[in-house]
Symmetry: none
Subunit: 217 residues, 4 copies
DNA sequence: CATGAATGAGAGTTCATTCAT
DNA sequence: GATGAATGAACTCTCATTCAT
């Protein structure tokens, strides 16, 4: 992979926007099915039903497709955060977390290899520039959600906590989707992910382990 | 990446063993510096100070190098587990975890991109066959270490707990090494990783746990 | 050599057809000059004045070029058969054979090494599948020509006779073109080839072995 | 056989001769099984049970193995010519030919691909120098045999006749061994080969060509 | 002499990218 | 804009050959 890349031109017209969407969806299918190396730009074009030239009209190079896929994923996650936020009026942190885990698992299970690729290869790229912008939104939204449950959270630094939670969350959902532990049912698996997040957030100061903050009404 | 690959021939003599080691170390440097695609077999050979032919004498193809690097990493982690186990006579789970985090961070910081590559690309490969053998050792050793602290662990299923802990551990250490949160000192960062693991393991059961229908002994 | 190979795409447009022809002609020159091993795909491309990529656009691999050259040769031979057939109204078998030998010699002398390669390497390949289709046309056309002279032919099984004649014909023409006997003029050489074919076809039934069929009182 | 103890000096040569033979036989197997390209010198060495270095001790390069195989074949053919000559006291040309065809077919059927390779690739090589020496012996011996049947032969130039007969013979035997016509029994096939040779040799001078006596209705 | 690890030139092939149509 | 034929740099991998042991 070379360098960070934004779409070459912003699709102004409806047709263009549709074309870009078509290409991105094709890219999602192709990258999920073949991995980064196996995914050729020509194949993406063929699957999208357009010519390679058209792909390059909107994406200056192969990595730009990956960047676009990342943004697509971020949008997806933002939507989920939105939904959960909306649906959960006075829900507890546990309930909210459970819901997020369940919804995210659905997303990752739909295209596990692509998600792994996005999670893994992107930090490698010099694209962090482009990414941090998109990722920032997820970070901010997540932090906001956590701050709403500030009372239930023992960790003092909420920025750091958000960072850690996002990492754990992504990784565990990835793992559960792509490489689940053998012989474990879905429910305990989701439960374990929630536990990991909840456990971290609610961990009392060292020594005070027994009295968890969630014990309070 | 193609398929799983074992070393082509087992290095029997001292000279060969040395050569293989040289090649693997060169591969580590090259993969860490250039990523999977950027790492060419010719470059690995050049860095190792041998000819391409010699690389292919011992590794049937490029992916075999990655597999070897994975095994090298696994050996590394096993050594760390061993050391921590030996050093920690009656240490608490927290102390043991802190030590593991510190030592692992050193390993990952030495070659962060390689570690990311190993963590990310390998599950993609069909090499899980070969890998599971090597990874199993880490899993078993980790589980054994956890079981020694059984009393401090609230999670009922120790296999699942080991799976989750290993994932969290690897991911958070990777992240801390490759993409640390801005403005966070090393100490709190390490602390956060330990908290995540400890929090998950020691999470007291929610008051409603007894009623959960899936919680079978 | 790997496996049988048809052209990757049928050249629909005039430009493509011209390109394919150019490549095949270049391949003919290169294979004739360097043999199978010495002929590199890059050299074929260079001689054709195109890029390697263009060669692979139409021929999936090196062997596909050989297959194409075989088909080119078959077409050539068919054309000759056609011409001879057309020109020879009531010609005798001898006259027809003489003409075929003369024309074929011209073809083989133009690129003797290529002809040898086609004659020799192809049966080795698994390409007999693809070849038999093309070769069949030559066989059928030859058989048809022979059957027109049925009265002059003593061999009972015309299929077998065609098989034998084609083999002798190809081999002797090859030999005469590539490795002629020293000190023999062209005319007696051509005559000898015709004699071989005529002699076989007109050989009287066994029992008349001692003398030629014309020995009859 | 290893118990035999000859003077200490002599075995060195004997051993070398044996080694050379071993290598050549291994080469025969390998070239027959894999063709020229597929036959690697390392494989030949492995099959021979010696090291590559030993192969290169006696054969300066890969083509030297082919040359040796050609000489082996020539010796084989000479032996057959010898046998036939010895066994056939007052045999007719037909009888002699039949015997030669039968014996040669056995040889070629044992390693058809190798024979094709020798027949086909060698003229291509620059080894014609070395070959003509070896081939000359076969040529001379064949000519001698033909001259013994001078009375039965109509062709005026015996050198040319020998040349033509050898070519036809080799080609037809090759073809019969490697690529026989479908649905033809062995006997008629051998018969056809003999017919081809006999027909050529005994063909009466032109002009005497009469309507074939085997004309069918 | 025998060995076989080491060599490295060079081959076939792919695929991101361009640009004339 | 859209197309897709054409490009060619660059990669993985092979194998004839050498030479230190």
């Amino acid at each position: 992979m070379k360098g960070a890349q934004k779409p070459r031109k912003e699709p102004r017209q409806a047709r263009s926007r549709f074309l870009v969407e078509t290409i991105v969806e094709a890219a999602a299918r192709v990258f999920d099915a073949h991995g980064y190396d196996g995914a050729t730009t020509n194949l993406v074009a063929r699957v999208a039903g357009v010519s390679v030239g058209s792909v390059y009209q909107y994406f200056p190079n192969k990595d730009a497709l990956v960047t676009a896929l990342h943004e697509r994923h971020v949008r997806h996650m933002l939507r989920i955060l939105e939904e959960v936020d909306a649906a959960a009026g006075g829900a507890s942190l546990r309930e909210t977390t459970d819901l997020l885990v369940a919804k995210s698992l659905d997303v990752h299970r739909a295209e596990p290899r692509l998600q792994r690729l996005l999670h893994a290869d992107l930090p490698t790229l010099e694209q962090q520039r482009a990414l941090s912008a998109a990722s920032r939104a997820v970070f901010d939204r997540s932090r906001q959600l956590l701050s709403r449950h500030r009372a239930e959270i023992a960790q003092p630094d909420l920025d750091l906590a958000t960072y850690v939670v996002l990492r754990m969350f992504e990784e565990l959902v990835h793992a559960a989707a792509l490489d689940p532990p053998p012989g474990v049912e879905d429910e305990p698996l989701r439960r374990a992910i929630s536990d990991a997040i909840l456990g971290y957030l609610t961990l009392a100061a060292p020594g005070a382990r027994a009295g968890s903050p969630t014990d309070r009404p």
